[in-house]
């Protein structure tokens, strides 16, 4: 008797799964185009991408699948042809990626600034310093073993990690030999921006973050902004297509639609106003009219892909 019951239960479950499978594979949804995006964590953690993809899905009858990873992993996914679009923030590696022919049609849609956050007590005394100077001071105090001075790095080859390395270089240090593994003061999280902020908060350590993720997480953090001025802190976000010449069966039409969508007036306004009501200040600035300020060619912010 019991066995029969079990059989019935199993049968019902299998039927249920088949139905789910059918719903998933047939019906109106198959007509929807799928767009796969690999993104830097900051765009996802702040929910900006979620907000924009909802609008896009309605306008283009498409389904947006977002894989959130650091810029480094996102570029790797792109290079392997596992996604249709990249949304990243590391000009240097983007340029290499484009030059190698993996990516095409880069468009810059937003920017903001990195900040150096840390405990309110500011044990290294860096408040108000220039970024490079602040970094050098943290290292000096950290190496001297001053209590409470620690720095949490993303350590995941992300865009933020790349920026951090650039600042160390600007401060006159060789990252691999003088920073990495130089002492207990320097910790590599190997995680996304949100997780790294949470970790820094637990350890009451200094951390470099994009302002967007920092504001989105601020409610749960005891960390305060200590350094937020300096040209080196500029953070520029772009979207680009994966080259269909490398991967012919990639979904390049919808990818093109997405990249163009990002630089439309409508979306640029959405970006500029996103989060203002909740955080009292924008998380991102629209790139549209500020191309000179952020040092990118006008074509990359204005001209839709033909």
């Amino acid at each position: 008797m019991l066995r029969r019951t079990l059989f019935t239960v199993a049968a019902v479950m299998v039927a249920f799964m088949l139905i789910c499978g059918c719903i998933g594979t047939t019906g109106p949804e198959t007509e929807k185009q799928q767009l796969r995006i690999a993104t830097t964590t900051s765009l996802d953690d702040t929910k900006l991408l979620n907000h924009l993809s909802t609008i896009f899905e309605e306008q283009y009858n498409a389904e947006v699948l977002v894989v959130s990873a650091g810029t480094g992993i996102a570029l790797e996914y792109g290079q392997r042809g596992d996604v249709d679009v990249l949304m990243v923030h590391d000009r240097v590696r983007e340029d290499v990626f484009l030059a190698d022919g993996y990516g095409i049609n880069r468009r810059v849609f937003a920017y903001n600034y990195f900040i150096l956050a840390g405990p309110e007590s500011d044990p290294a005394g860096i408040k108000g310093m220039k970024p490079e100077e602040a970094f050098a001071t943290i290292r000096e105090k950290g190496m001297a073993g001053e209590s409470g001075v620690a720095f949490v790095s993303r350590g995941d080859a992300s865009g933020t990690h790349a920026k951090e390395k650039a600042i160390w270089k600007g401060a006159g240090f060789d990252y691999a030999t003088e920073i990495q593994g130089s002492g207990d003061w320097y910790l590599e999280a190997g995680k996304g921006m949100g997780e790294t902020l949470t970790m820094s908060n637990e350890k009451q350590a200094y951390v470099l973050s994009d302002i967007g993720t920092y504001l989105a997480y601020k409610g749960d953090l005891d960390l305060v902004t200590l350094v937020d001025e300096g040209d080196i802190l500029l953070n520029v976000y772009c979207a680009m297509q994966i080259n269909p010449a490398k991967y012919p069966d990639i979904n390049s039409e919808i990818a093109k639609d997405w990249v163009n969508f990002m630089i439309t007036d409508e979306v640029q306004e959405e970006i500029a106003s996103f989060g203002v009501a909740q955080y009292g200040q924008p998380l991102f600035y629209a790139a549209q009219d500020d191309w000179e300020k952020i040092g990118v060619p006008q074509t990359e912010v204005k001209d839709p892909i033909p």
Binding site: M17, C20, G21, I23, E57, E63, L65, V67, D82, G194
Partner: protein, 233 residues
């Protein structure tokens, strides 16, 4: 402390009100791991029987290897499957990466060793008297197999429960080949209980993490109760 209590209260609310977000993730977890376990059972039971009753050189070594793979790290399985199904990999043309199917494949591979190993144990644990009796009664090879399997059915059922438990509780492979995607359609998303817990915790949404954790444990409990009920019938 307050955070934990608050978490449990919120968790209770999310579960009682059948929060659609939480329920969808739980359902997806069950479906993915259930299919993976069934697939693994269909492979591991015949394979286990073949190894247990078979006589071939290297049989002992093979069993040792299988037992070693019990502790196969989930991220290694994830990495392996990722490399195989990524676009530039040998099965890239199937475009499986970042789909629930990819997670099913990874979980199947993950639980195969432990299920095969435990099936071998289950079959070798069958009373030798029964085997001798079957032989002396002149059972054909097929009849013999069917009857021994029947004898070992509870132990095999326990094997299935162990496999399901390992499948639904792993996070390493699911996040690597699934990508933790939350899309608008149910079967295109790849967010399951474990990957969601990892994400929500990192985002500081502790109550939701606790709710998801409780559901995960409840599912495990349910499966175990069902198995125990059958065994003690």
């Amino acid at each position: 402390m307050y955070e934990i209590i608050e978490g449990f209260i919120e968790a209770g609310r999310l579960i009682i009100t059948l929060d659609p977000d939480v329920m969808t993730i739980a359902a997806r977890s069950i479906i993915v791991s259930f299919i993976a376990t069934i697939t693994a059972t269909l492979i591991s039971v015949p394979l286990g029987a073949a190894i247990n009753f078979g006589t071939f050189p290297g049989r002992k070594g093979l069993i040792n290897l299988i037992q070693t793979l019990y502790s196969l790290p989930t991220v290694i399985v994830g990495l392996l499957i990722f490399l195989l199904i990524s676009r530039v990999g040998p099965f890239g043309f199937m475009r499986l990466l970042f789909t629930p199917t990819a997670m099913i494949v990874a979980q199947t591979v993950l639980v195969l060793p432990i299920m095969t190993g435990l099936t071998i144990s289950a079959l070798s644990g069958v009373d030798p008297v029964i085997r001798d009796t079957l032989h002396s009664l002149g059972a054909t090879r097929l009849q013999f197999l069917i009857n021994v399997m029947k004898e070992a059915r509870f132990a095999i059922l326990a094997t299935v429960a162990v496999g399901f438990g390992r499948a639904i509780s792993e996070v390493g492979a699911a996040i690597l080949v699934g990508g933790n995607i939350m899309a608008s359609s149910f079967m295109r998303s790849t967010r399951v209980l474990t990957t969601a817990i990892s994400l929500e915790t990192s985002m500081g949404n502790i109550p939701k993490s606790i709710a998801l954790g409780i559901i995960l444990l409840t599912i495990a409990l349910g499966v175990n109760l069902a198995i125990t009920m059958v065994q003690h019938r």
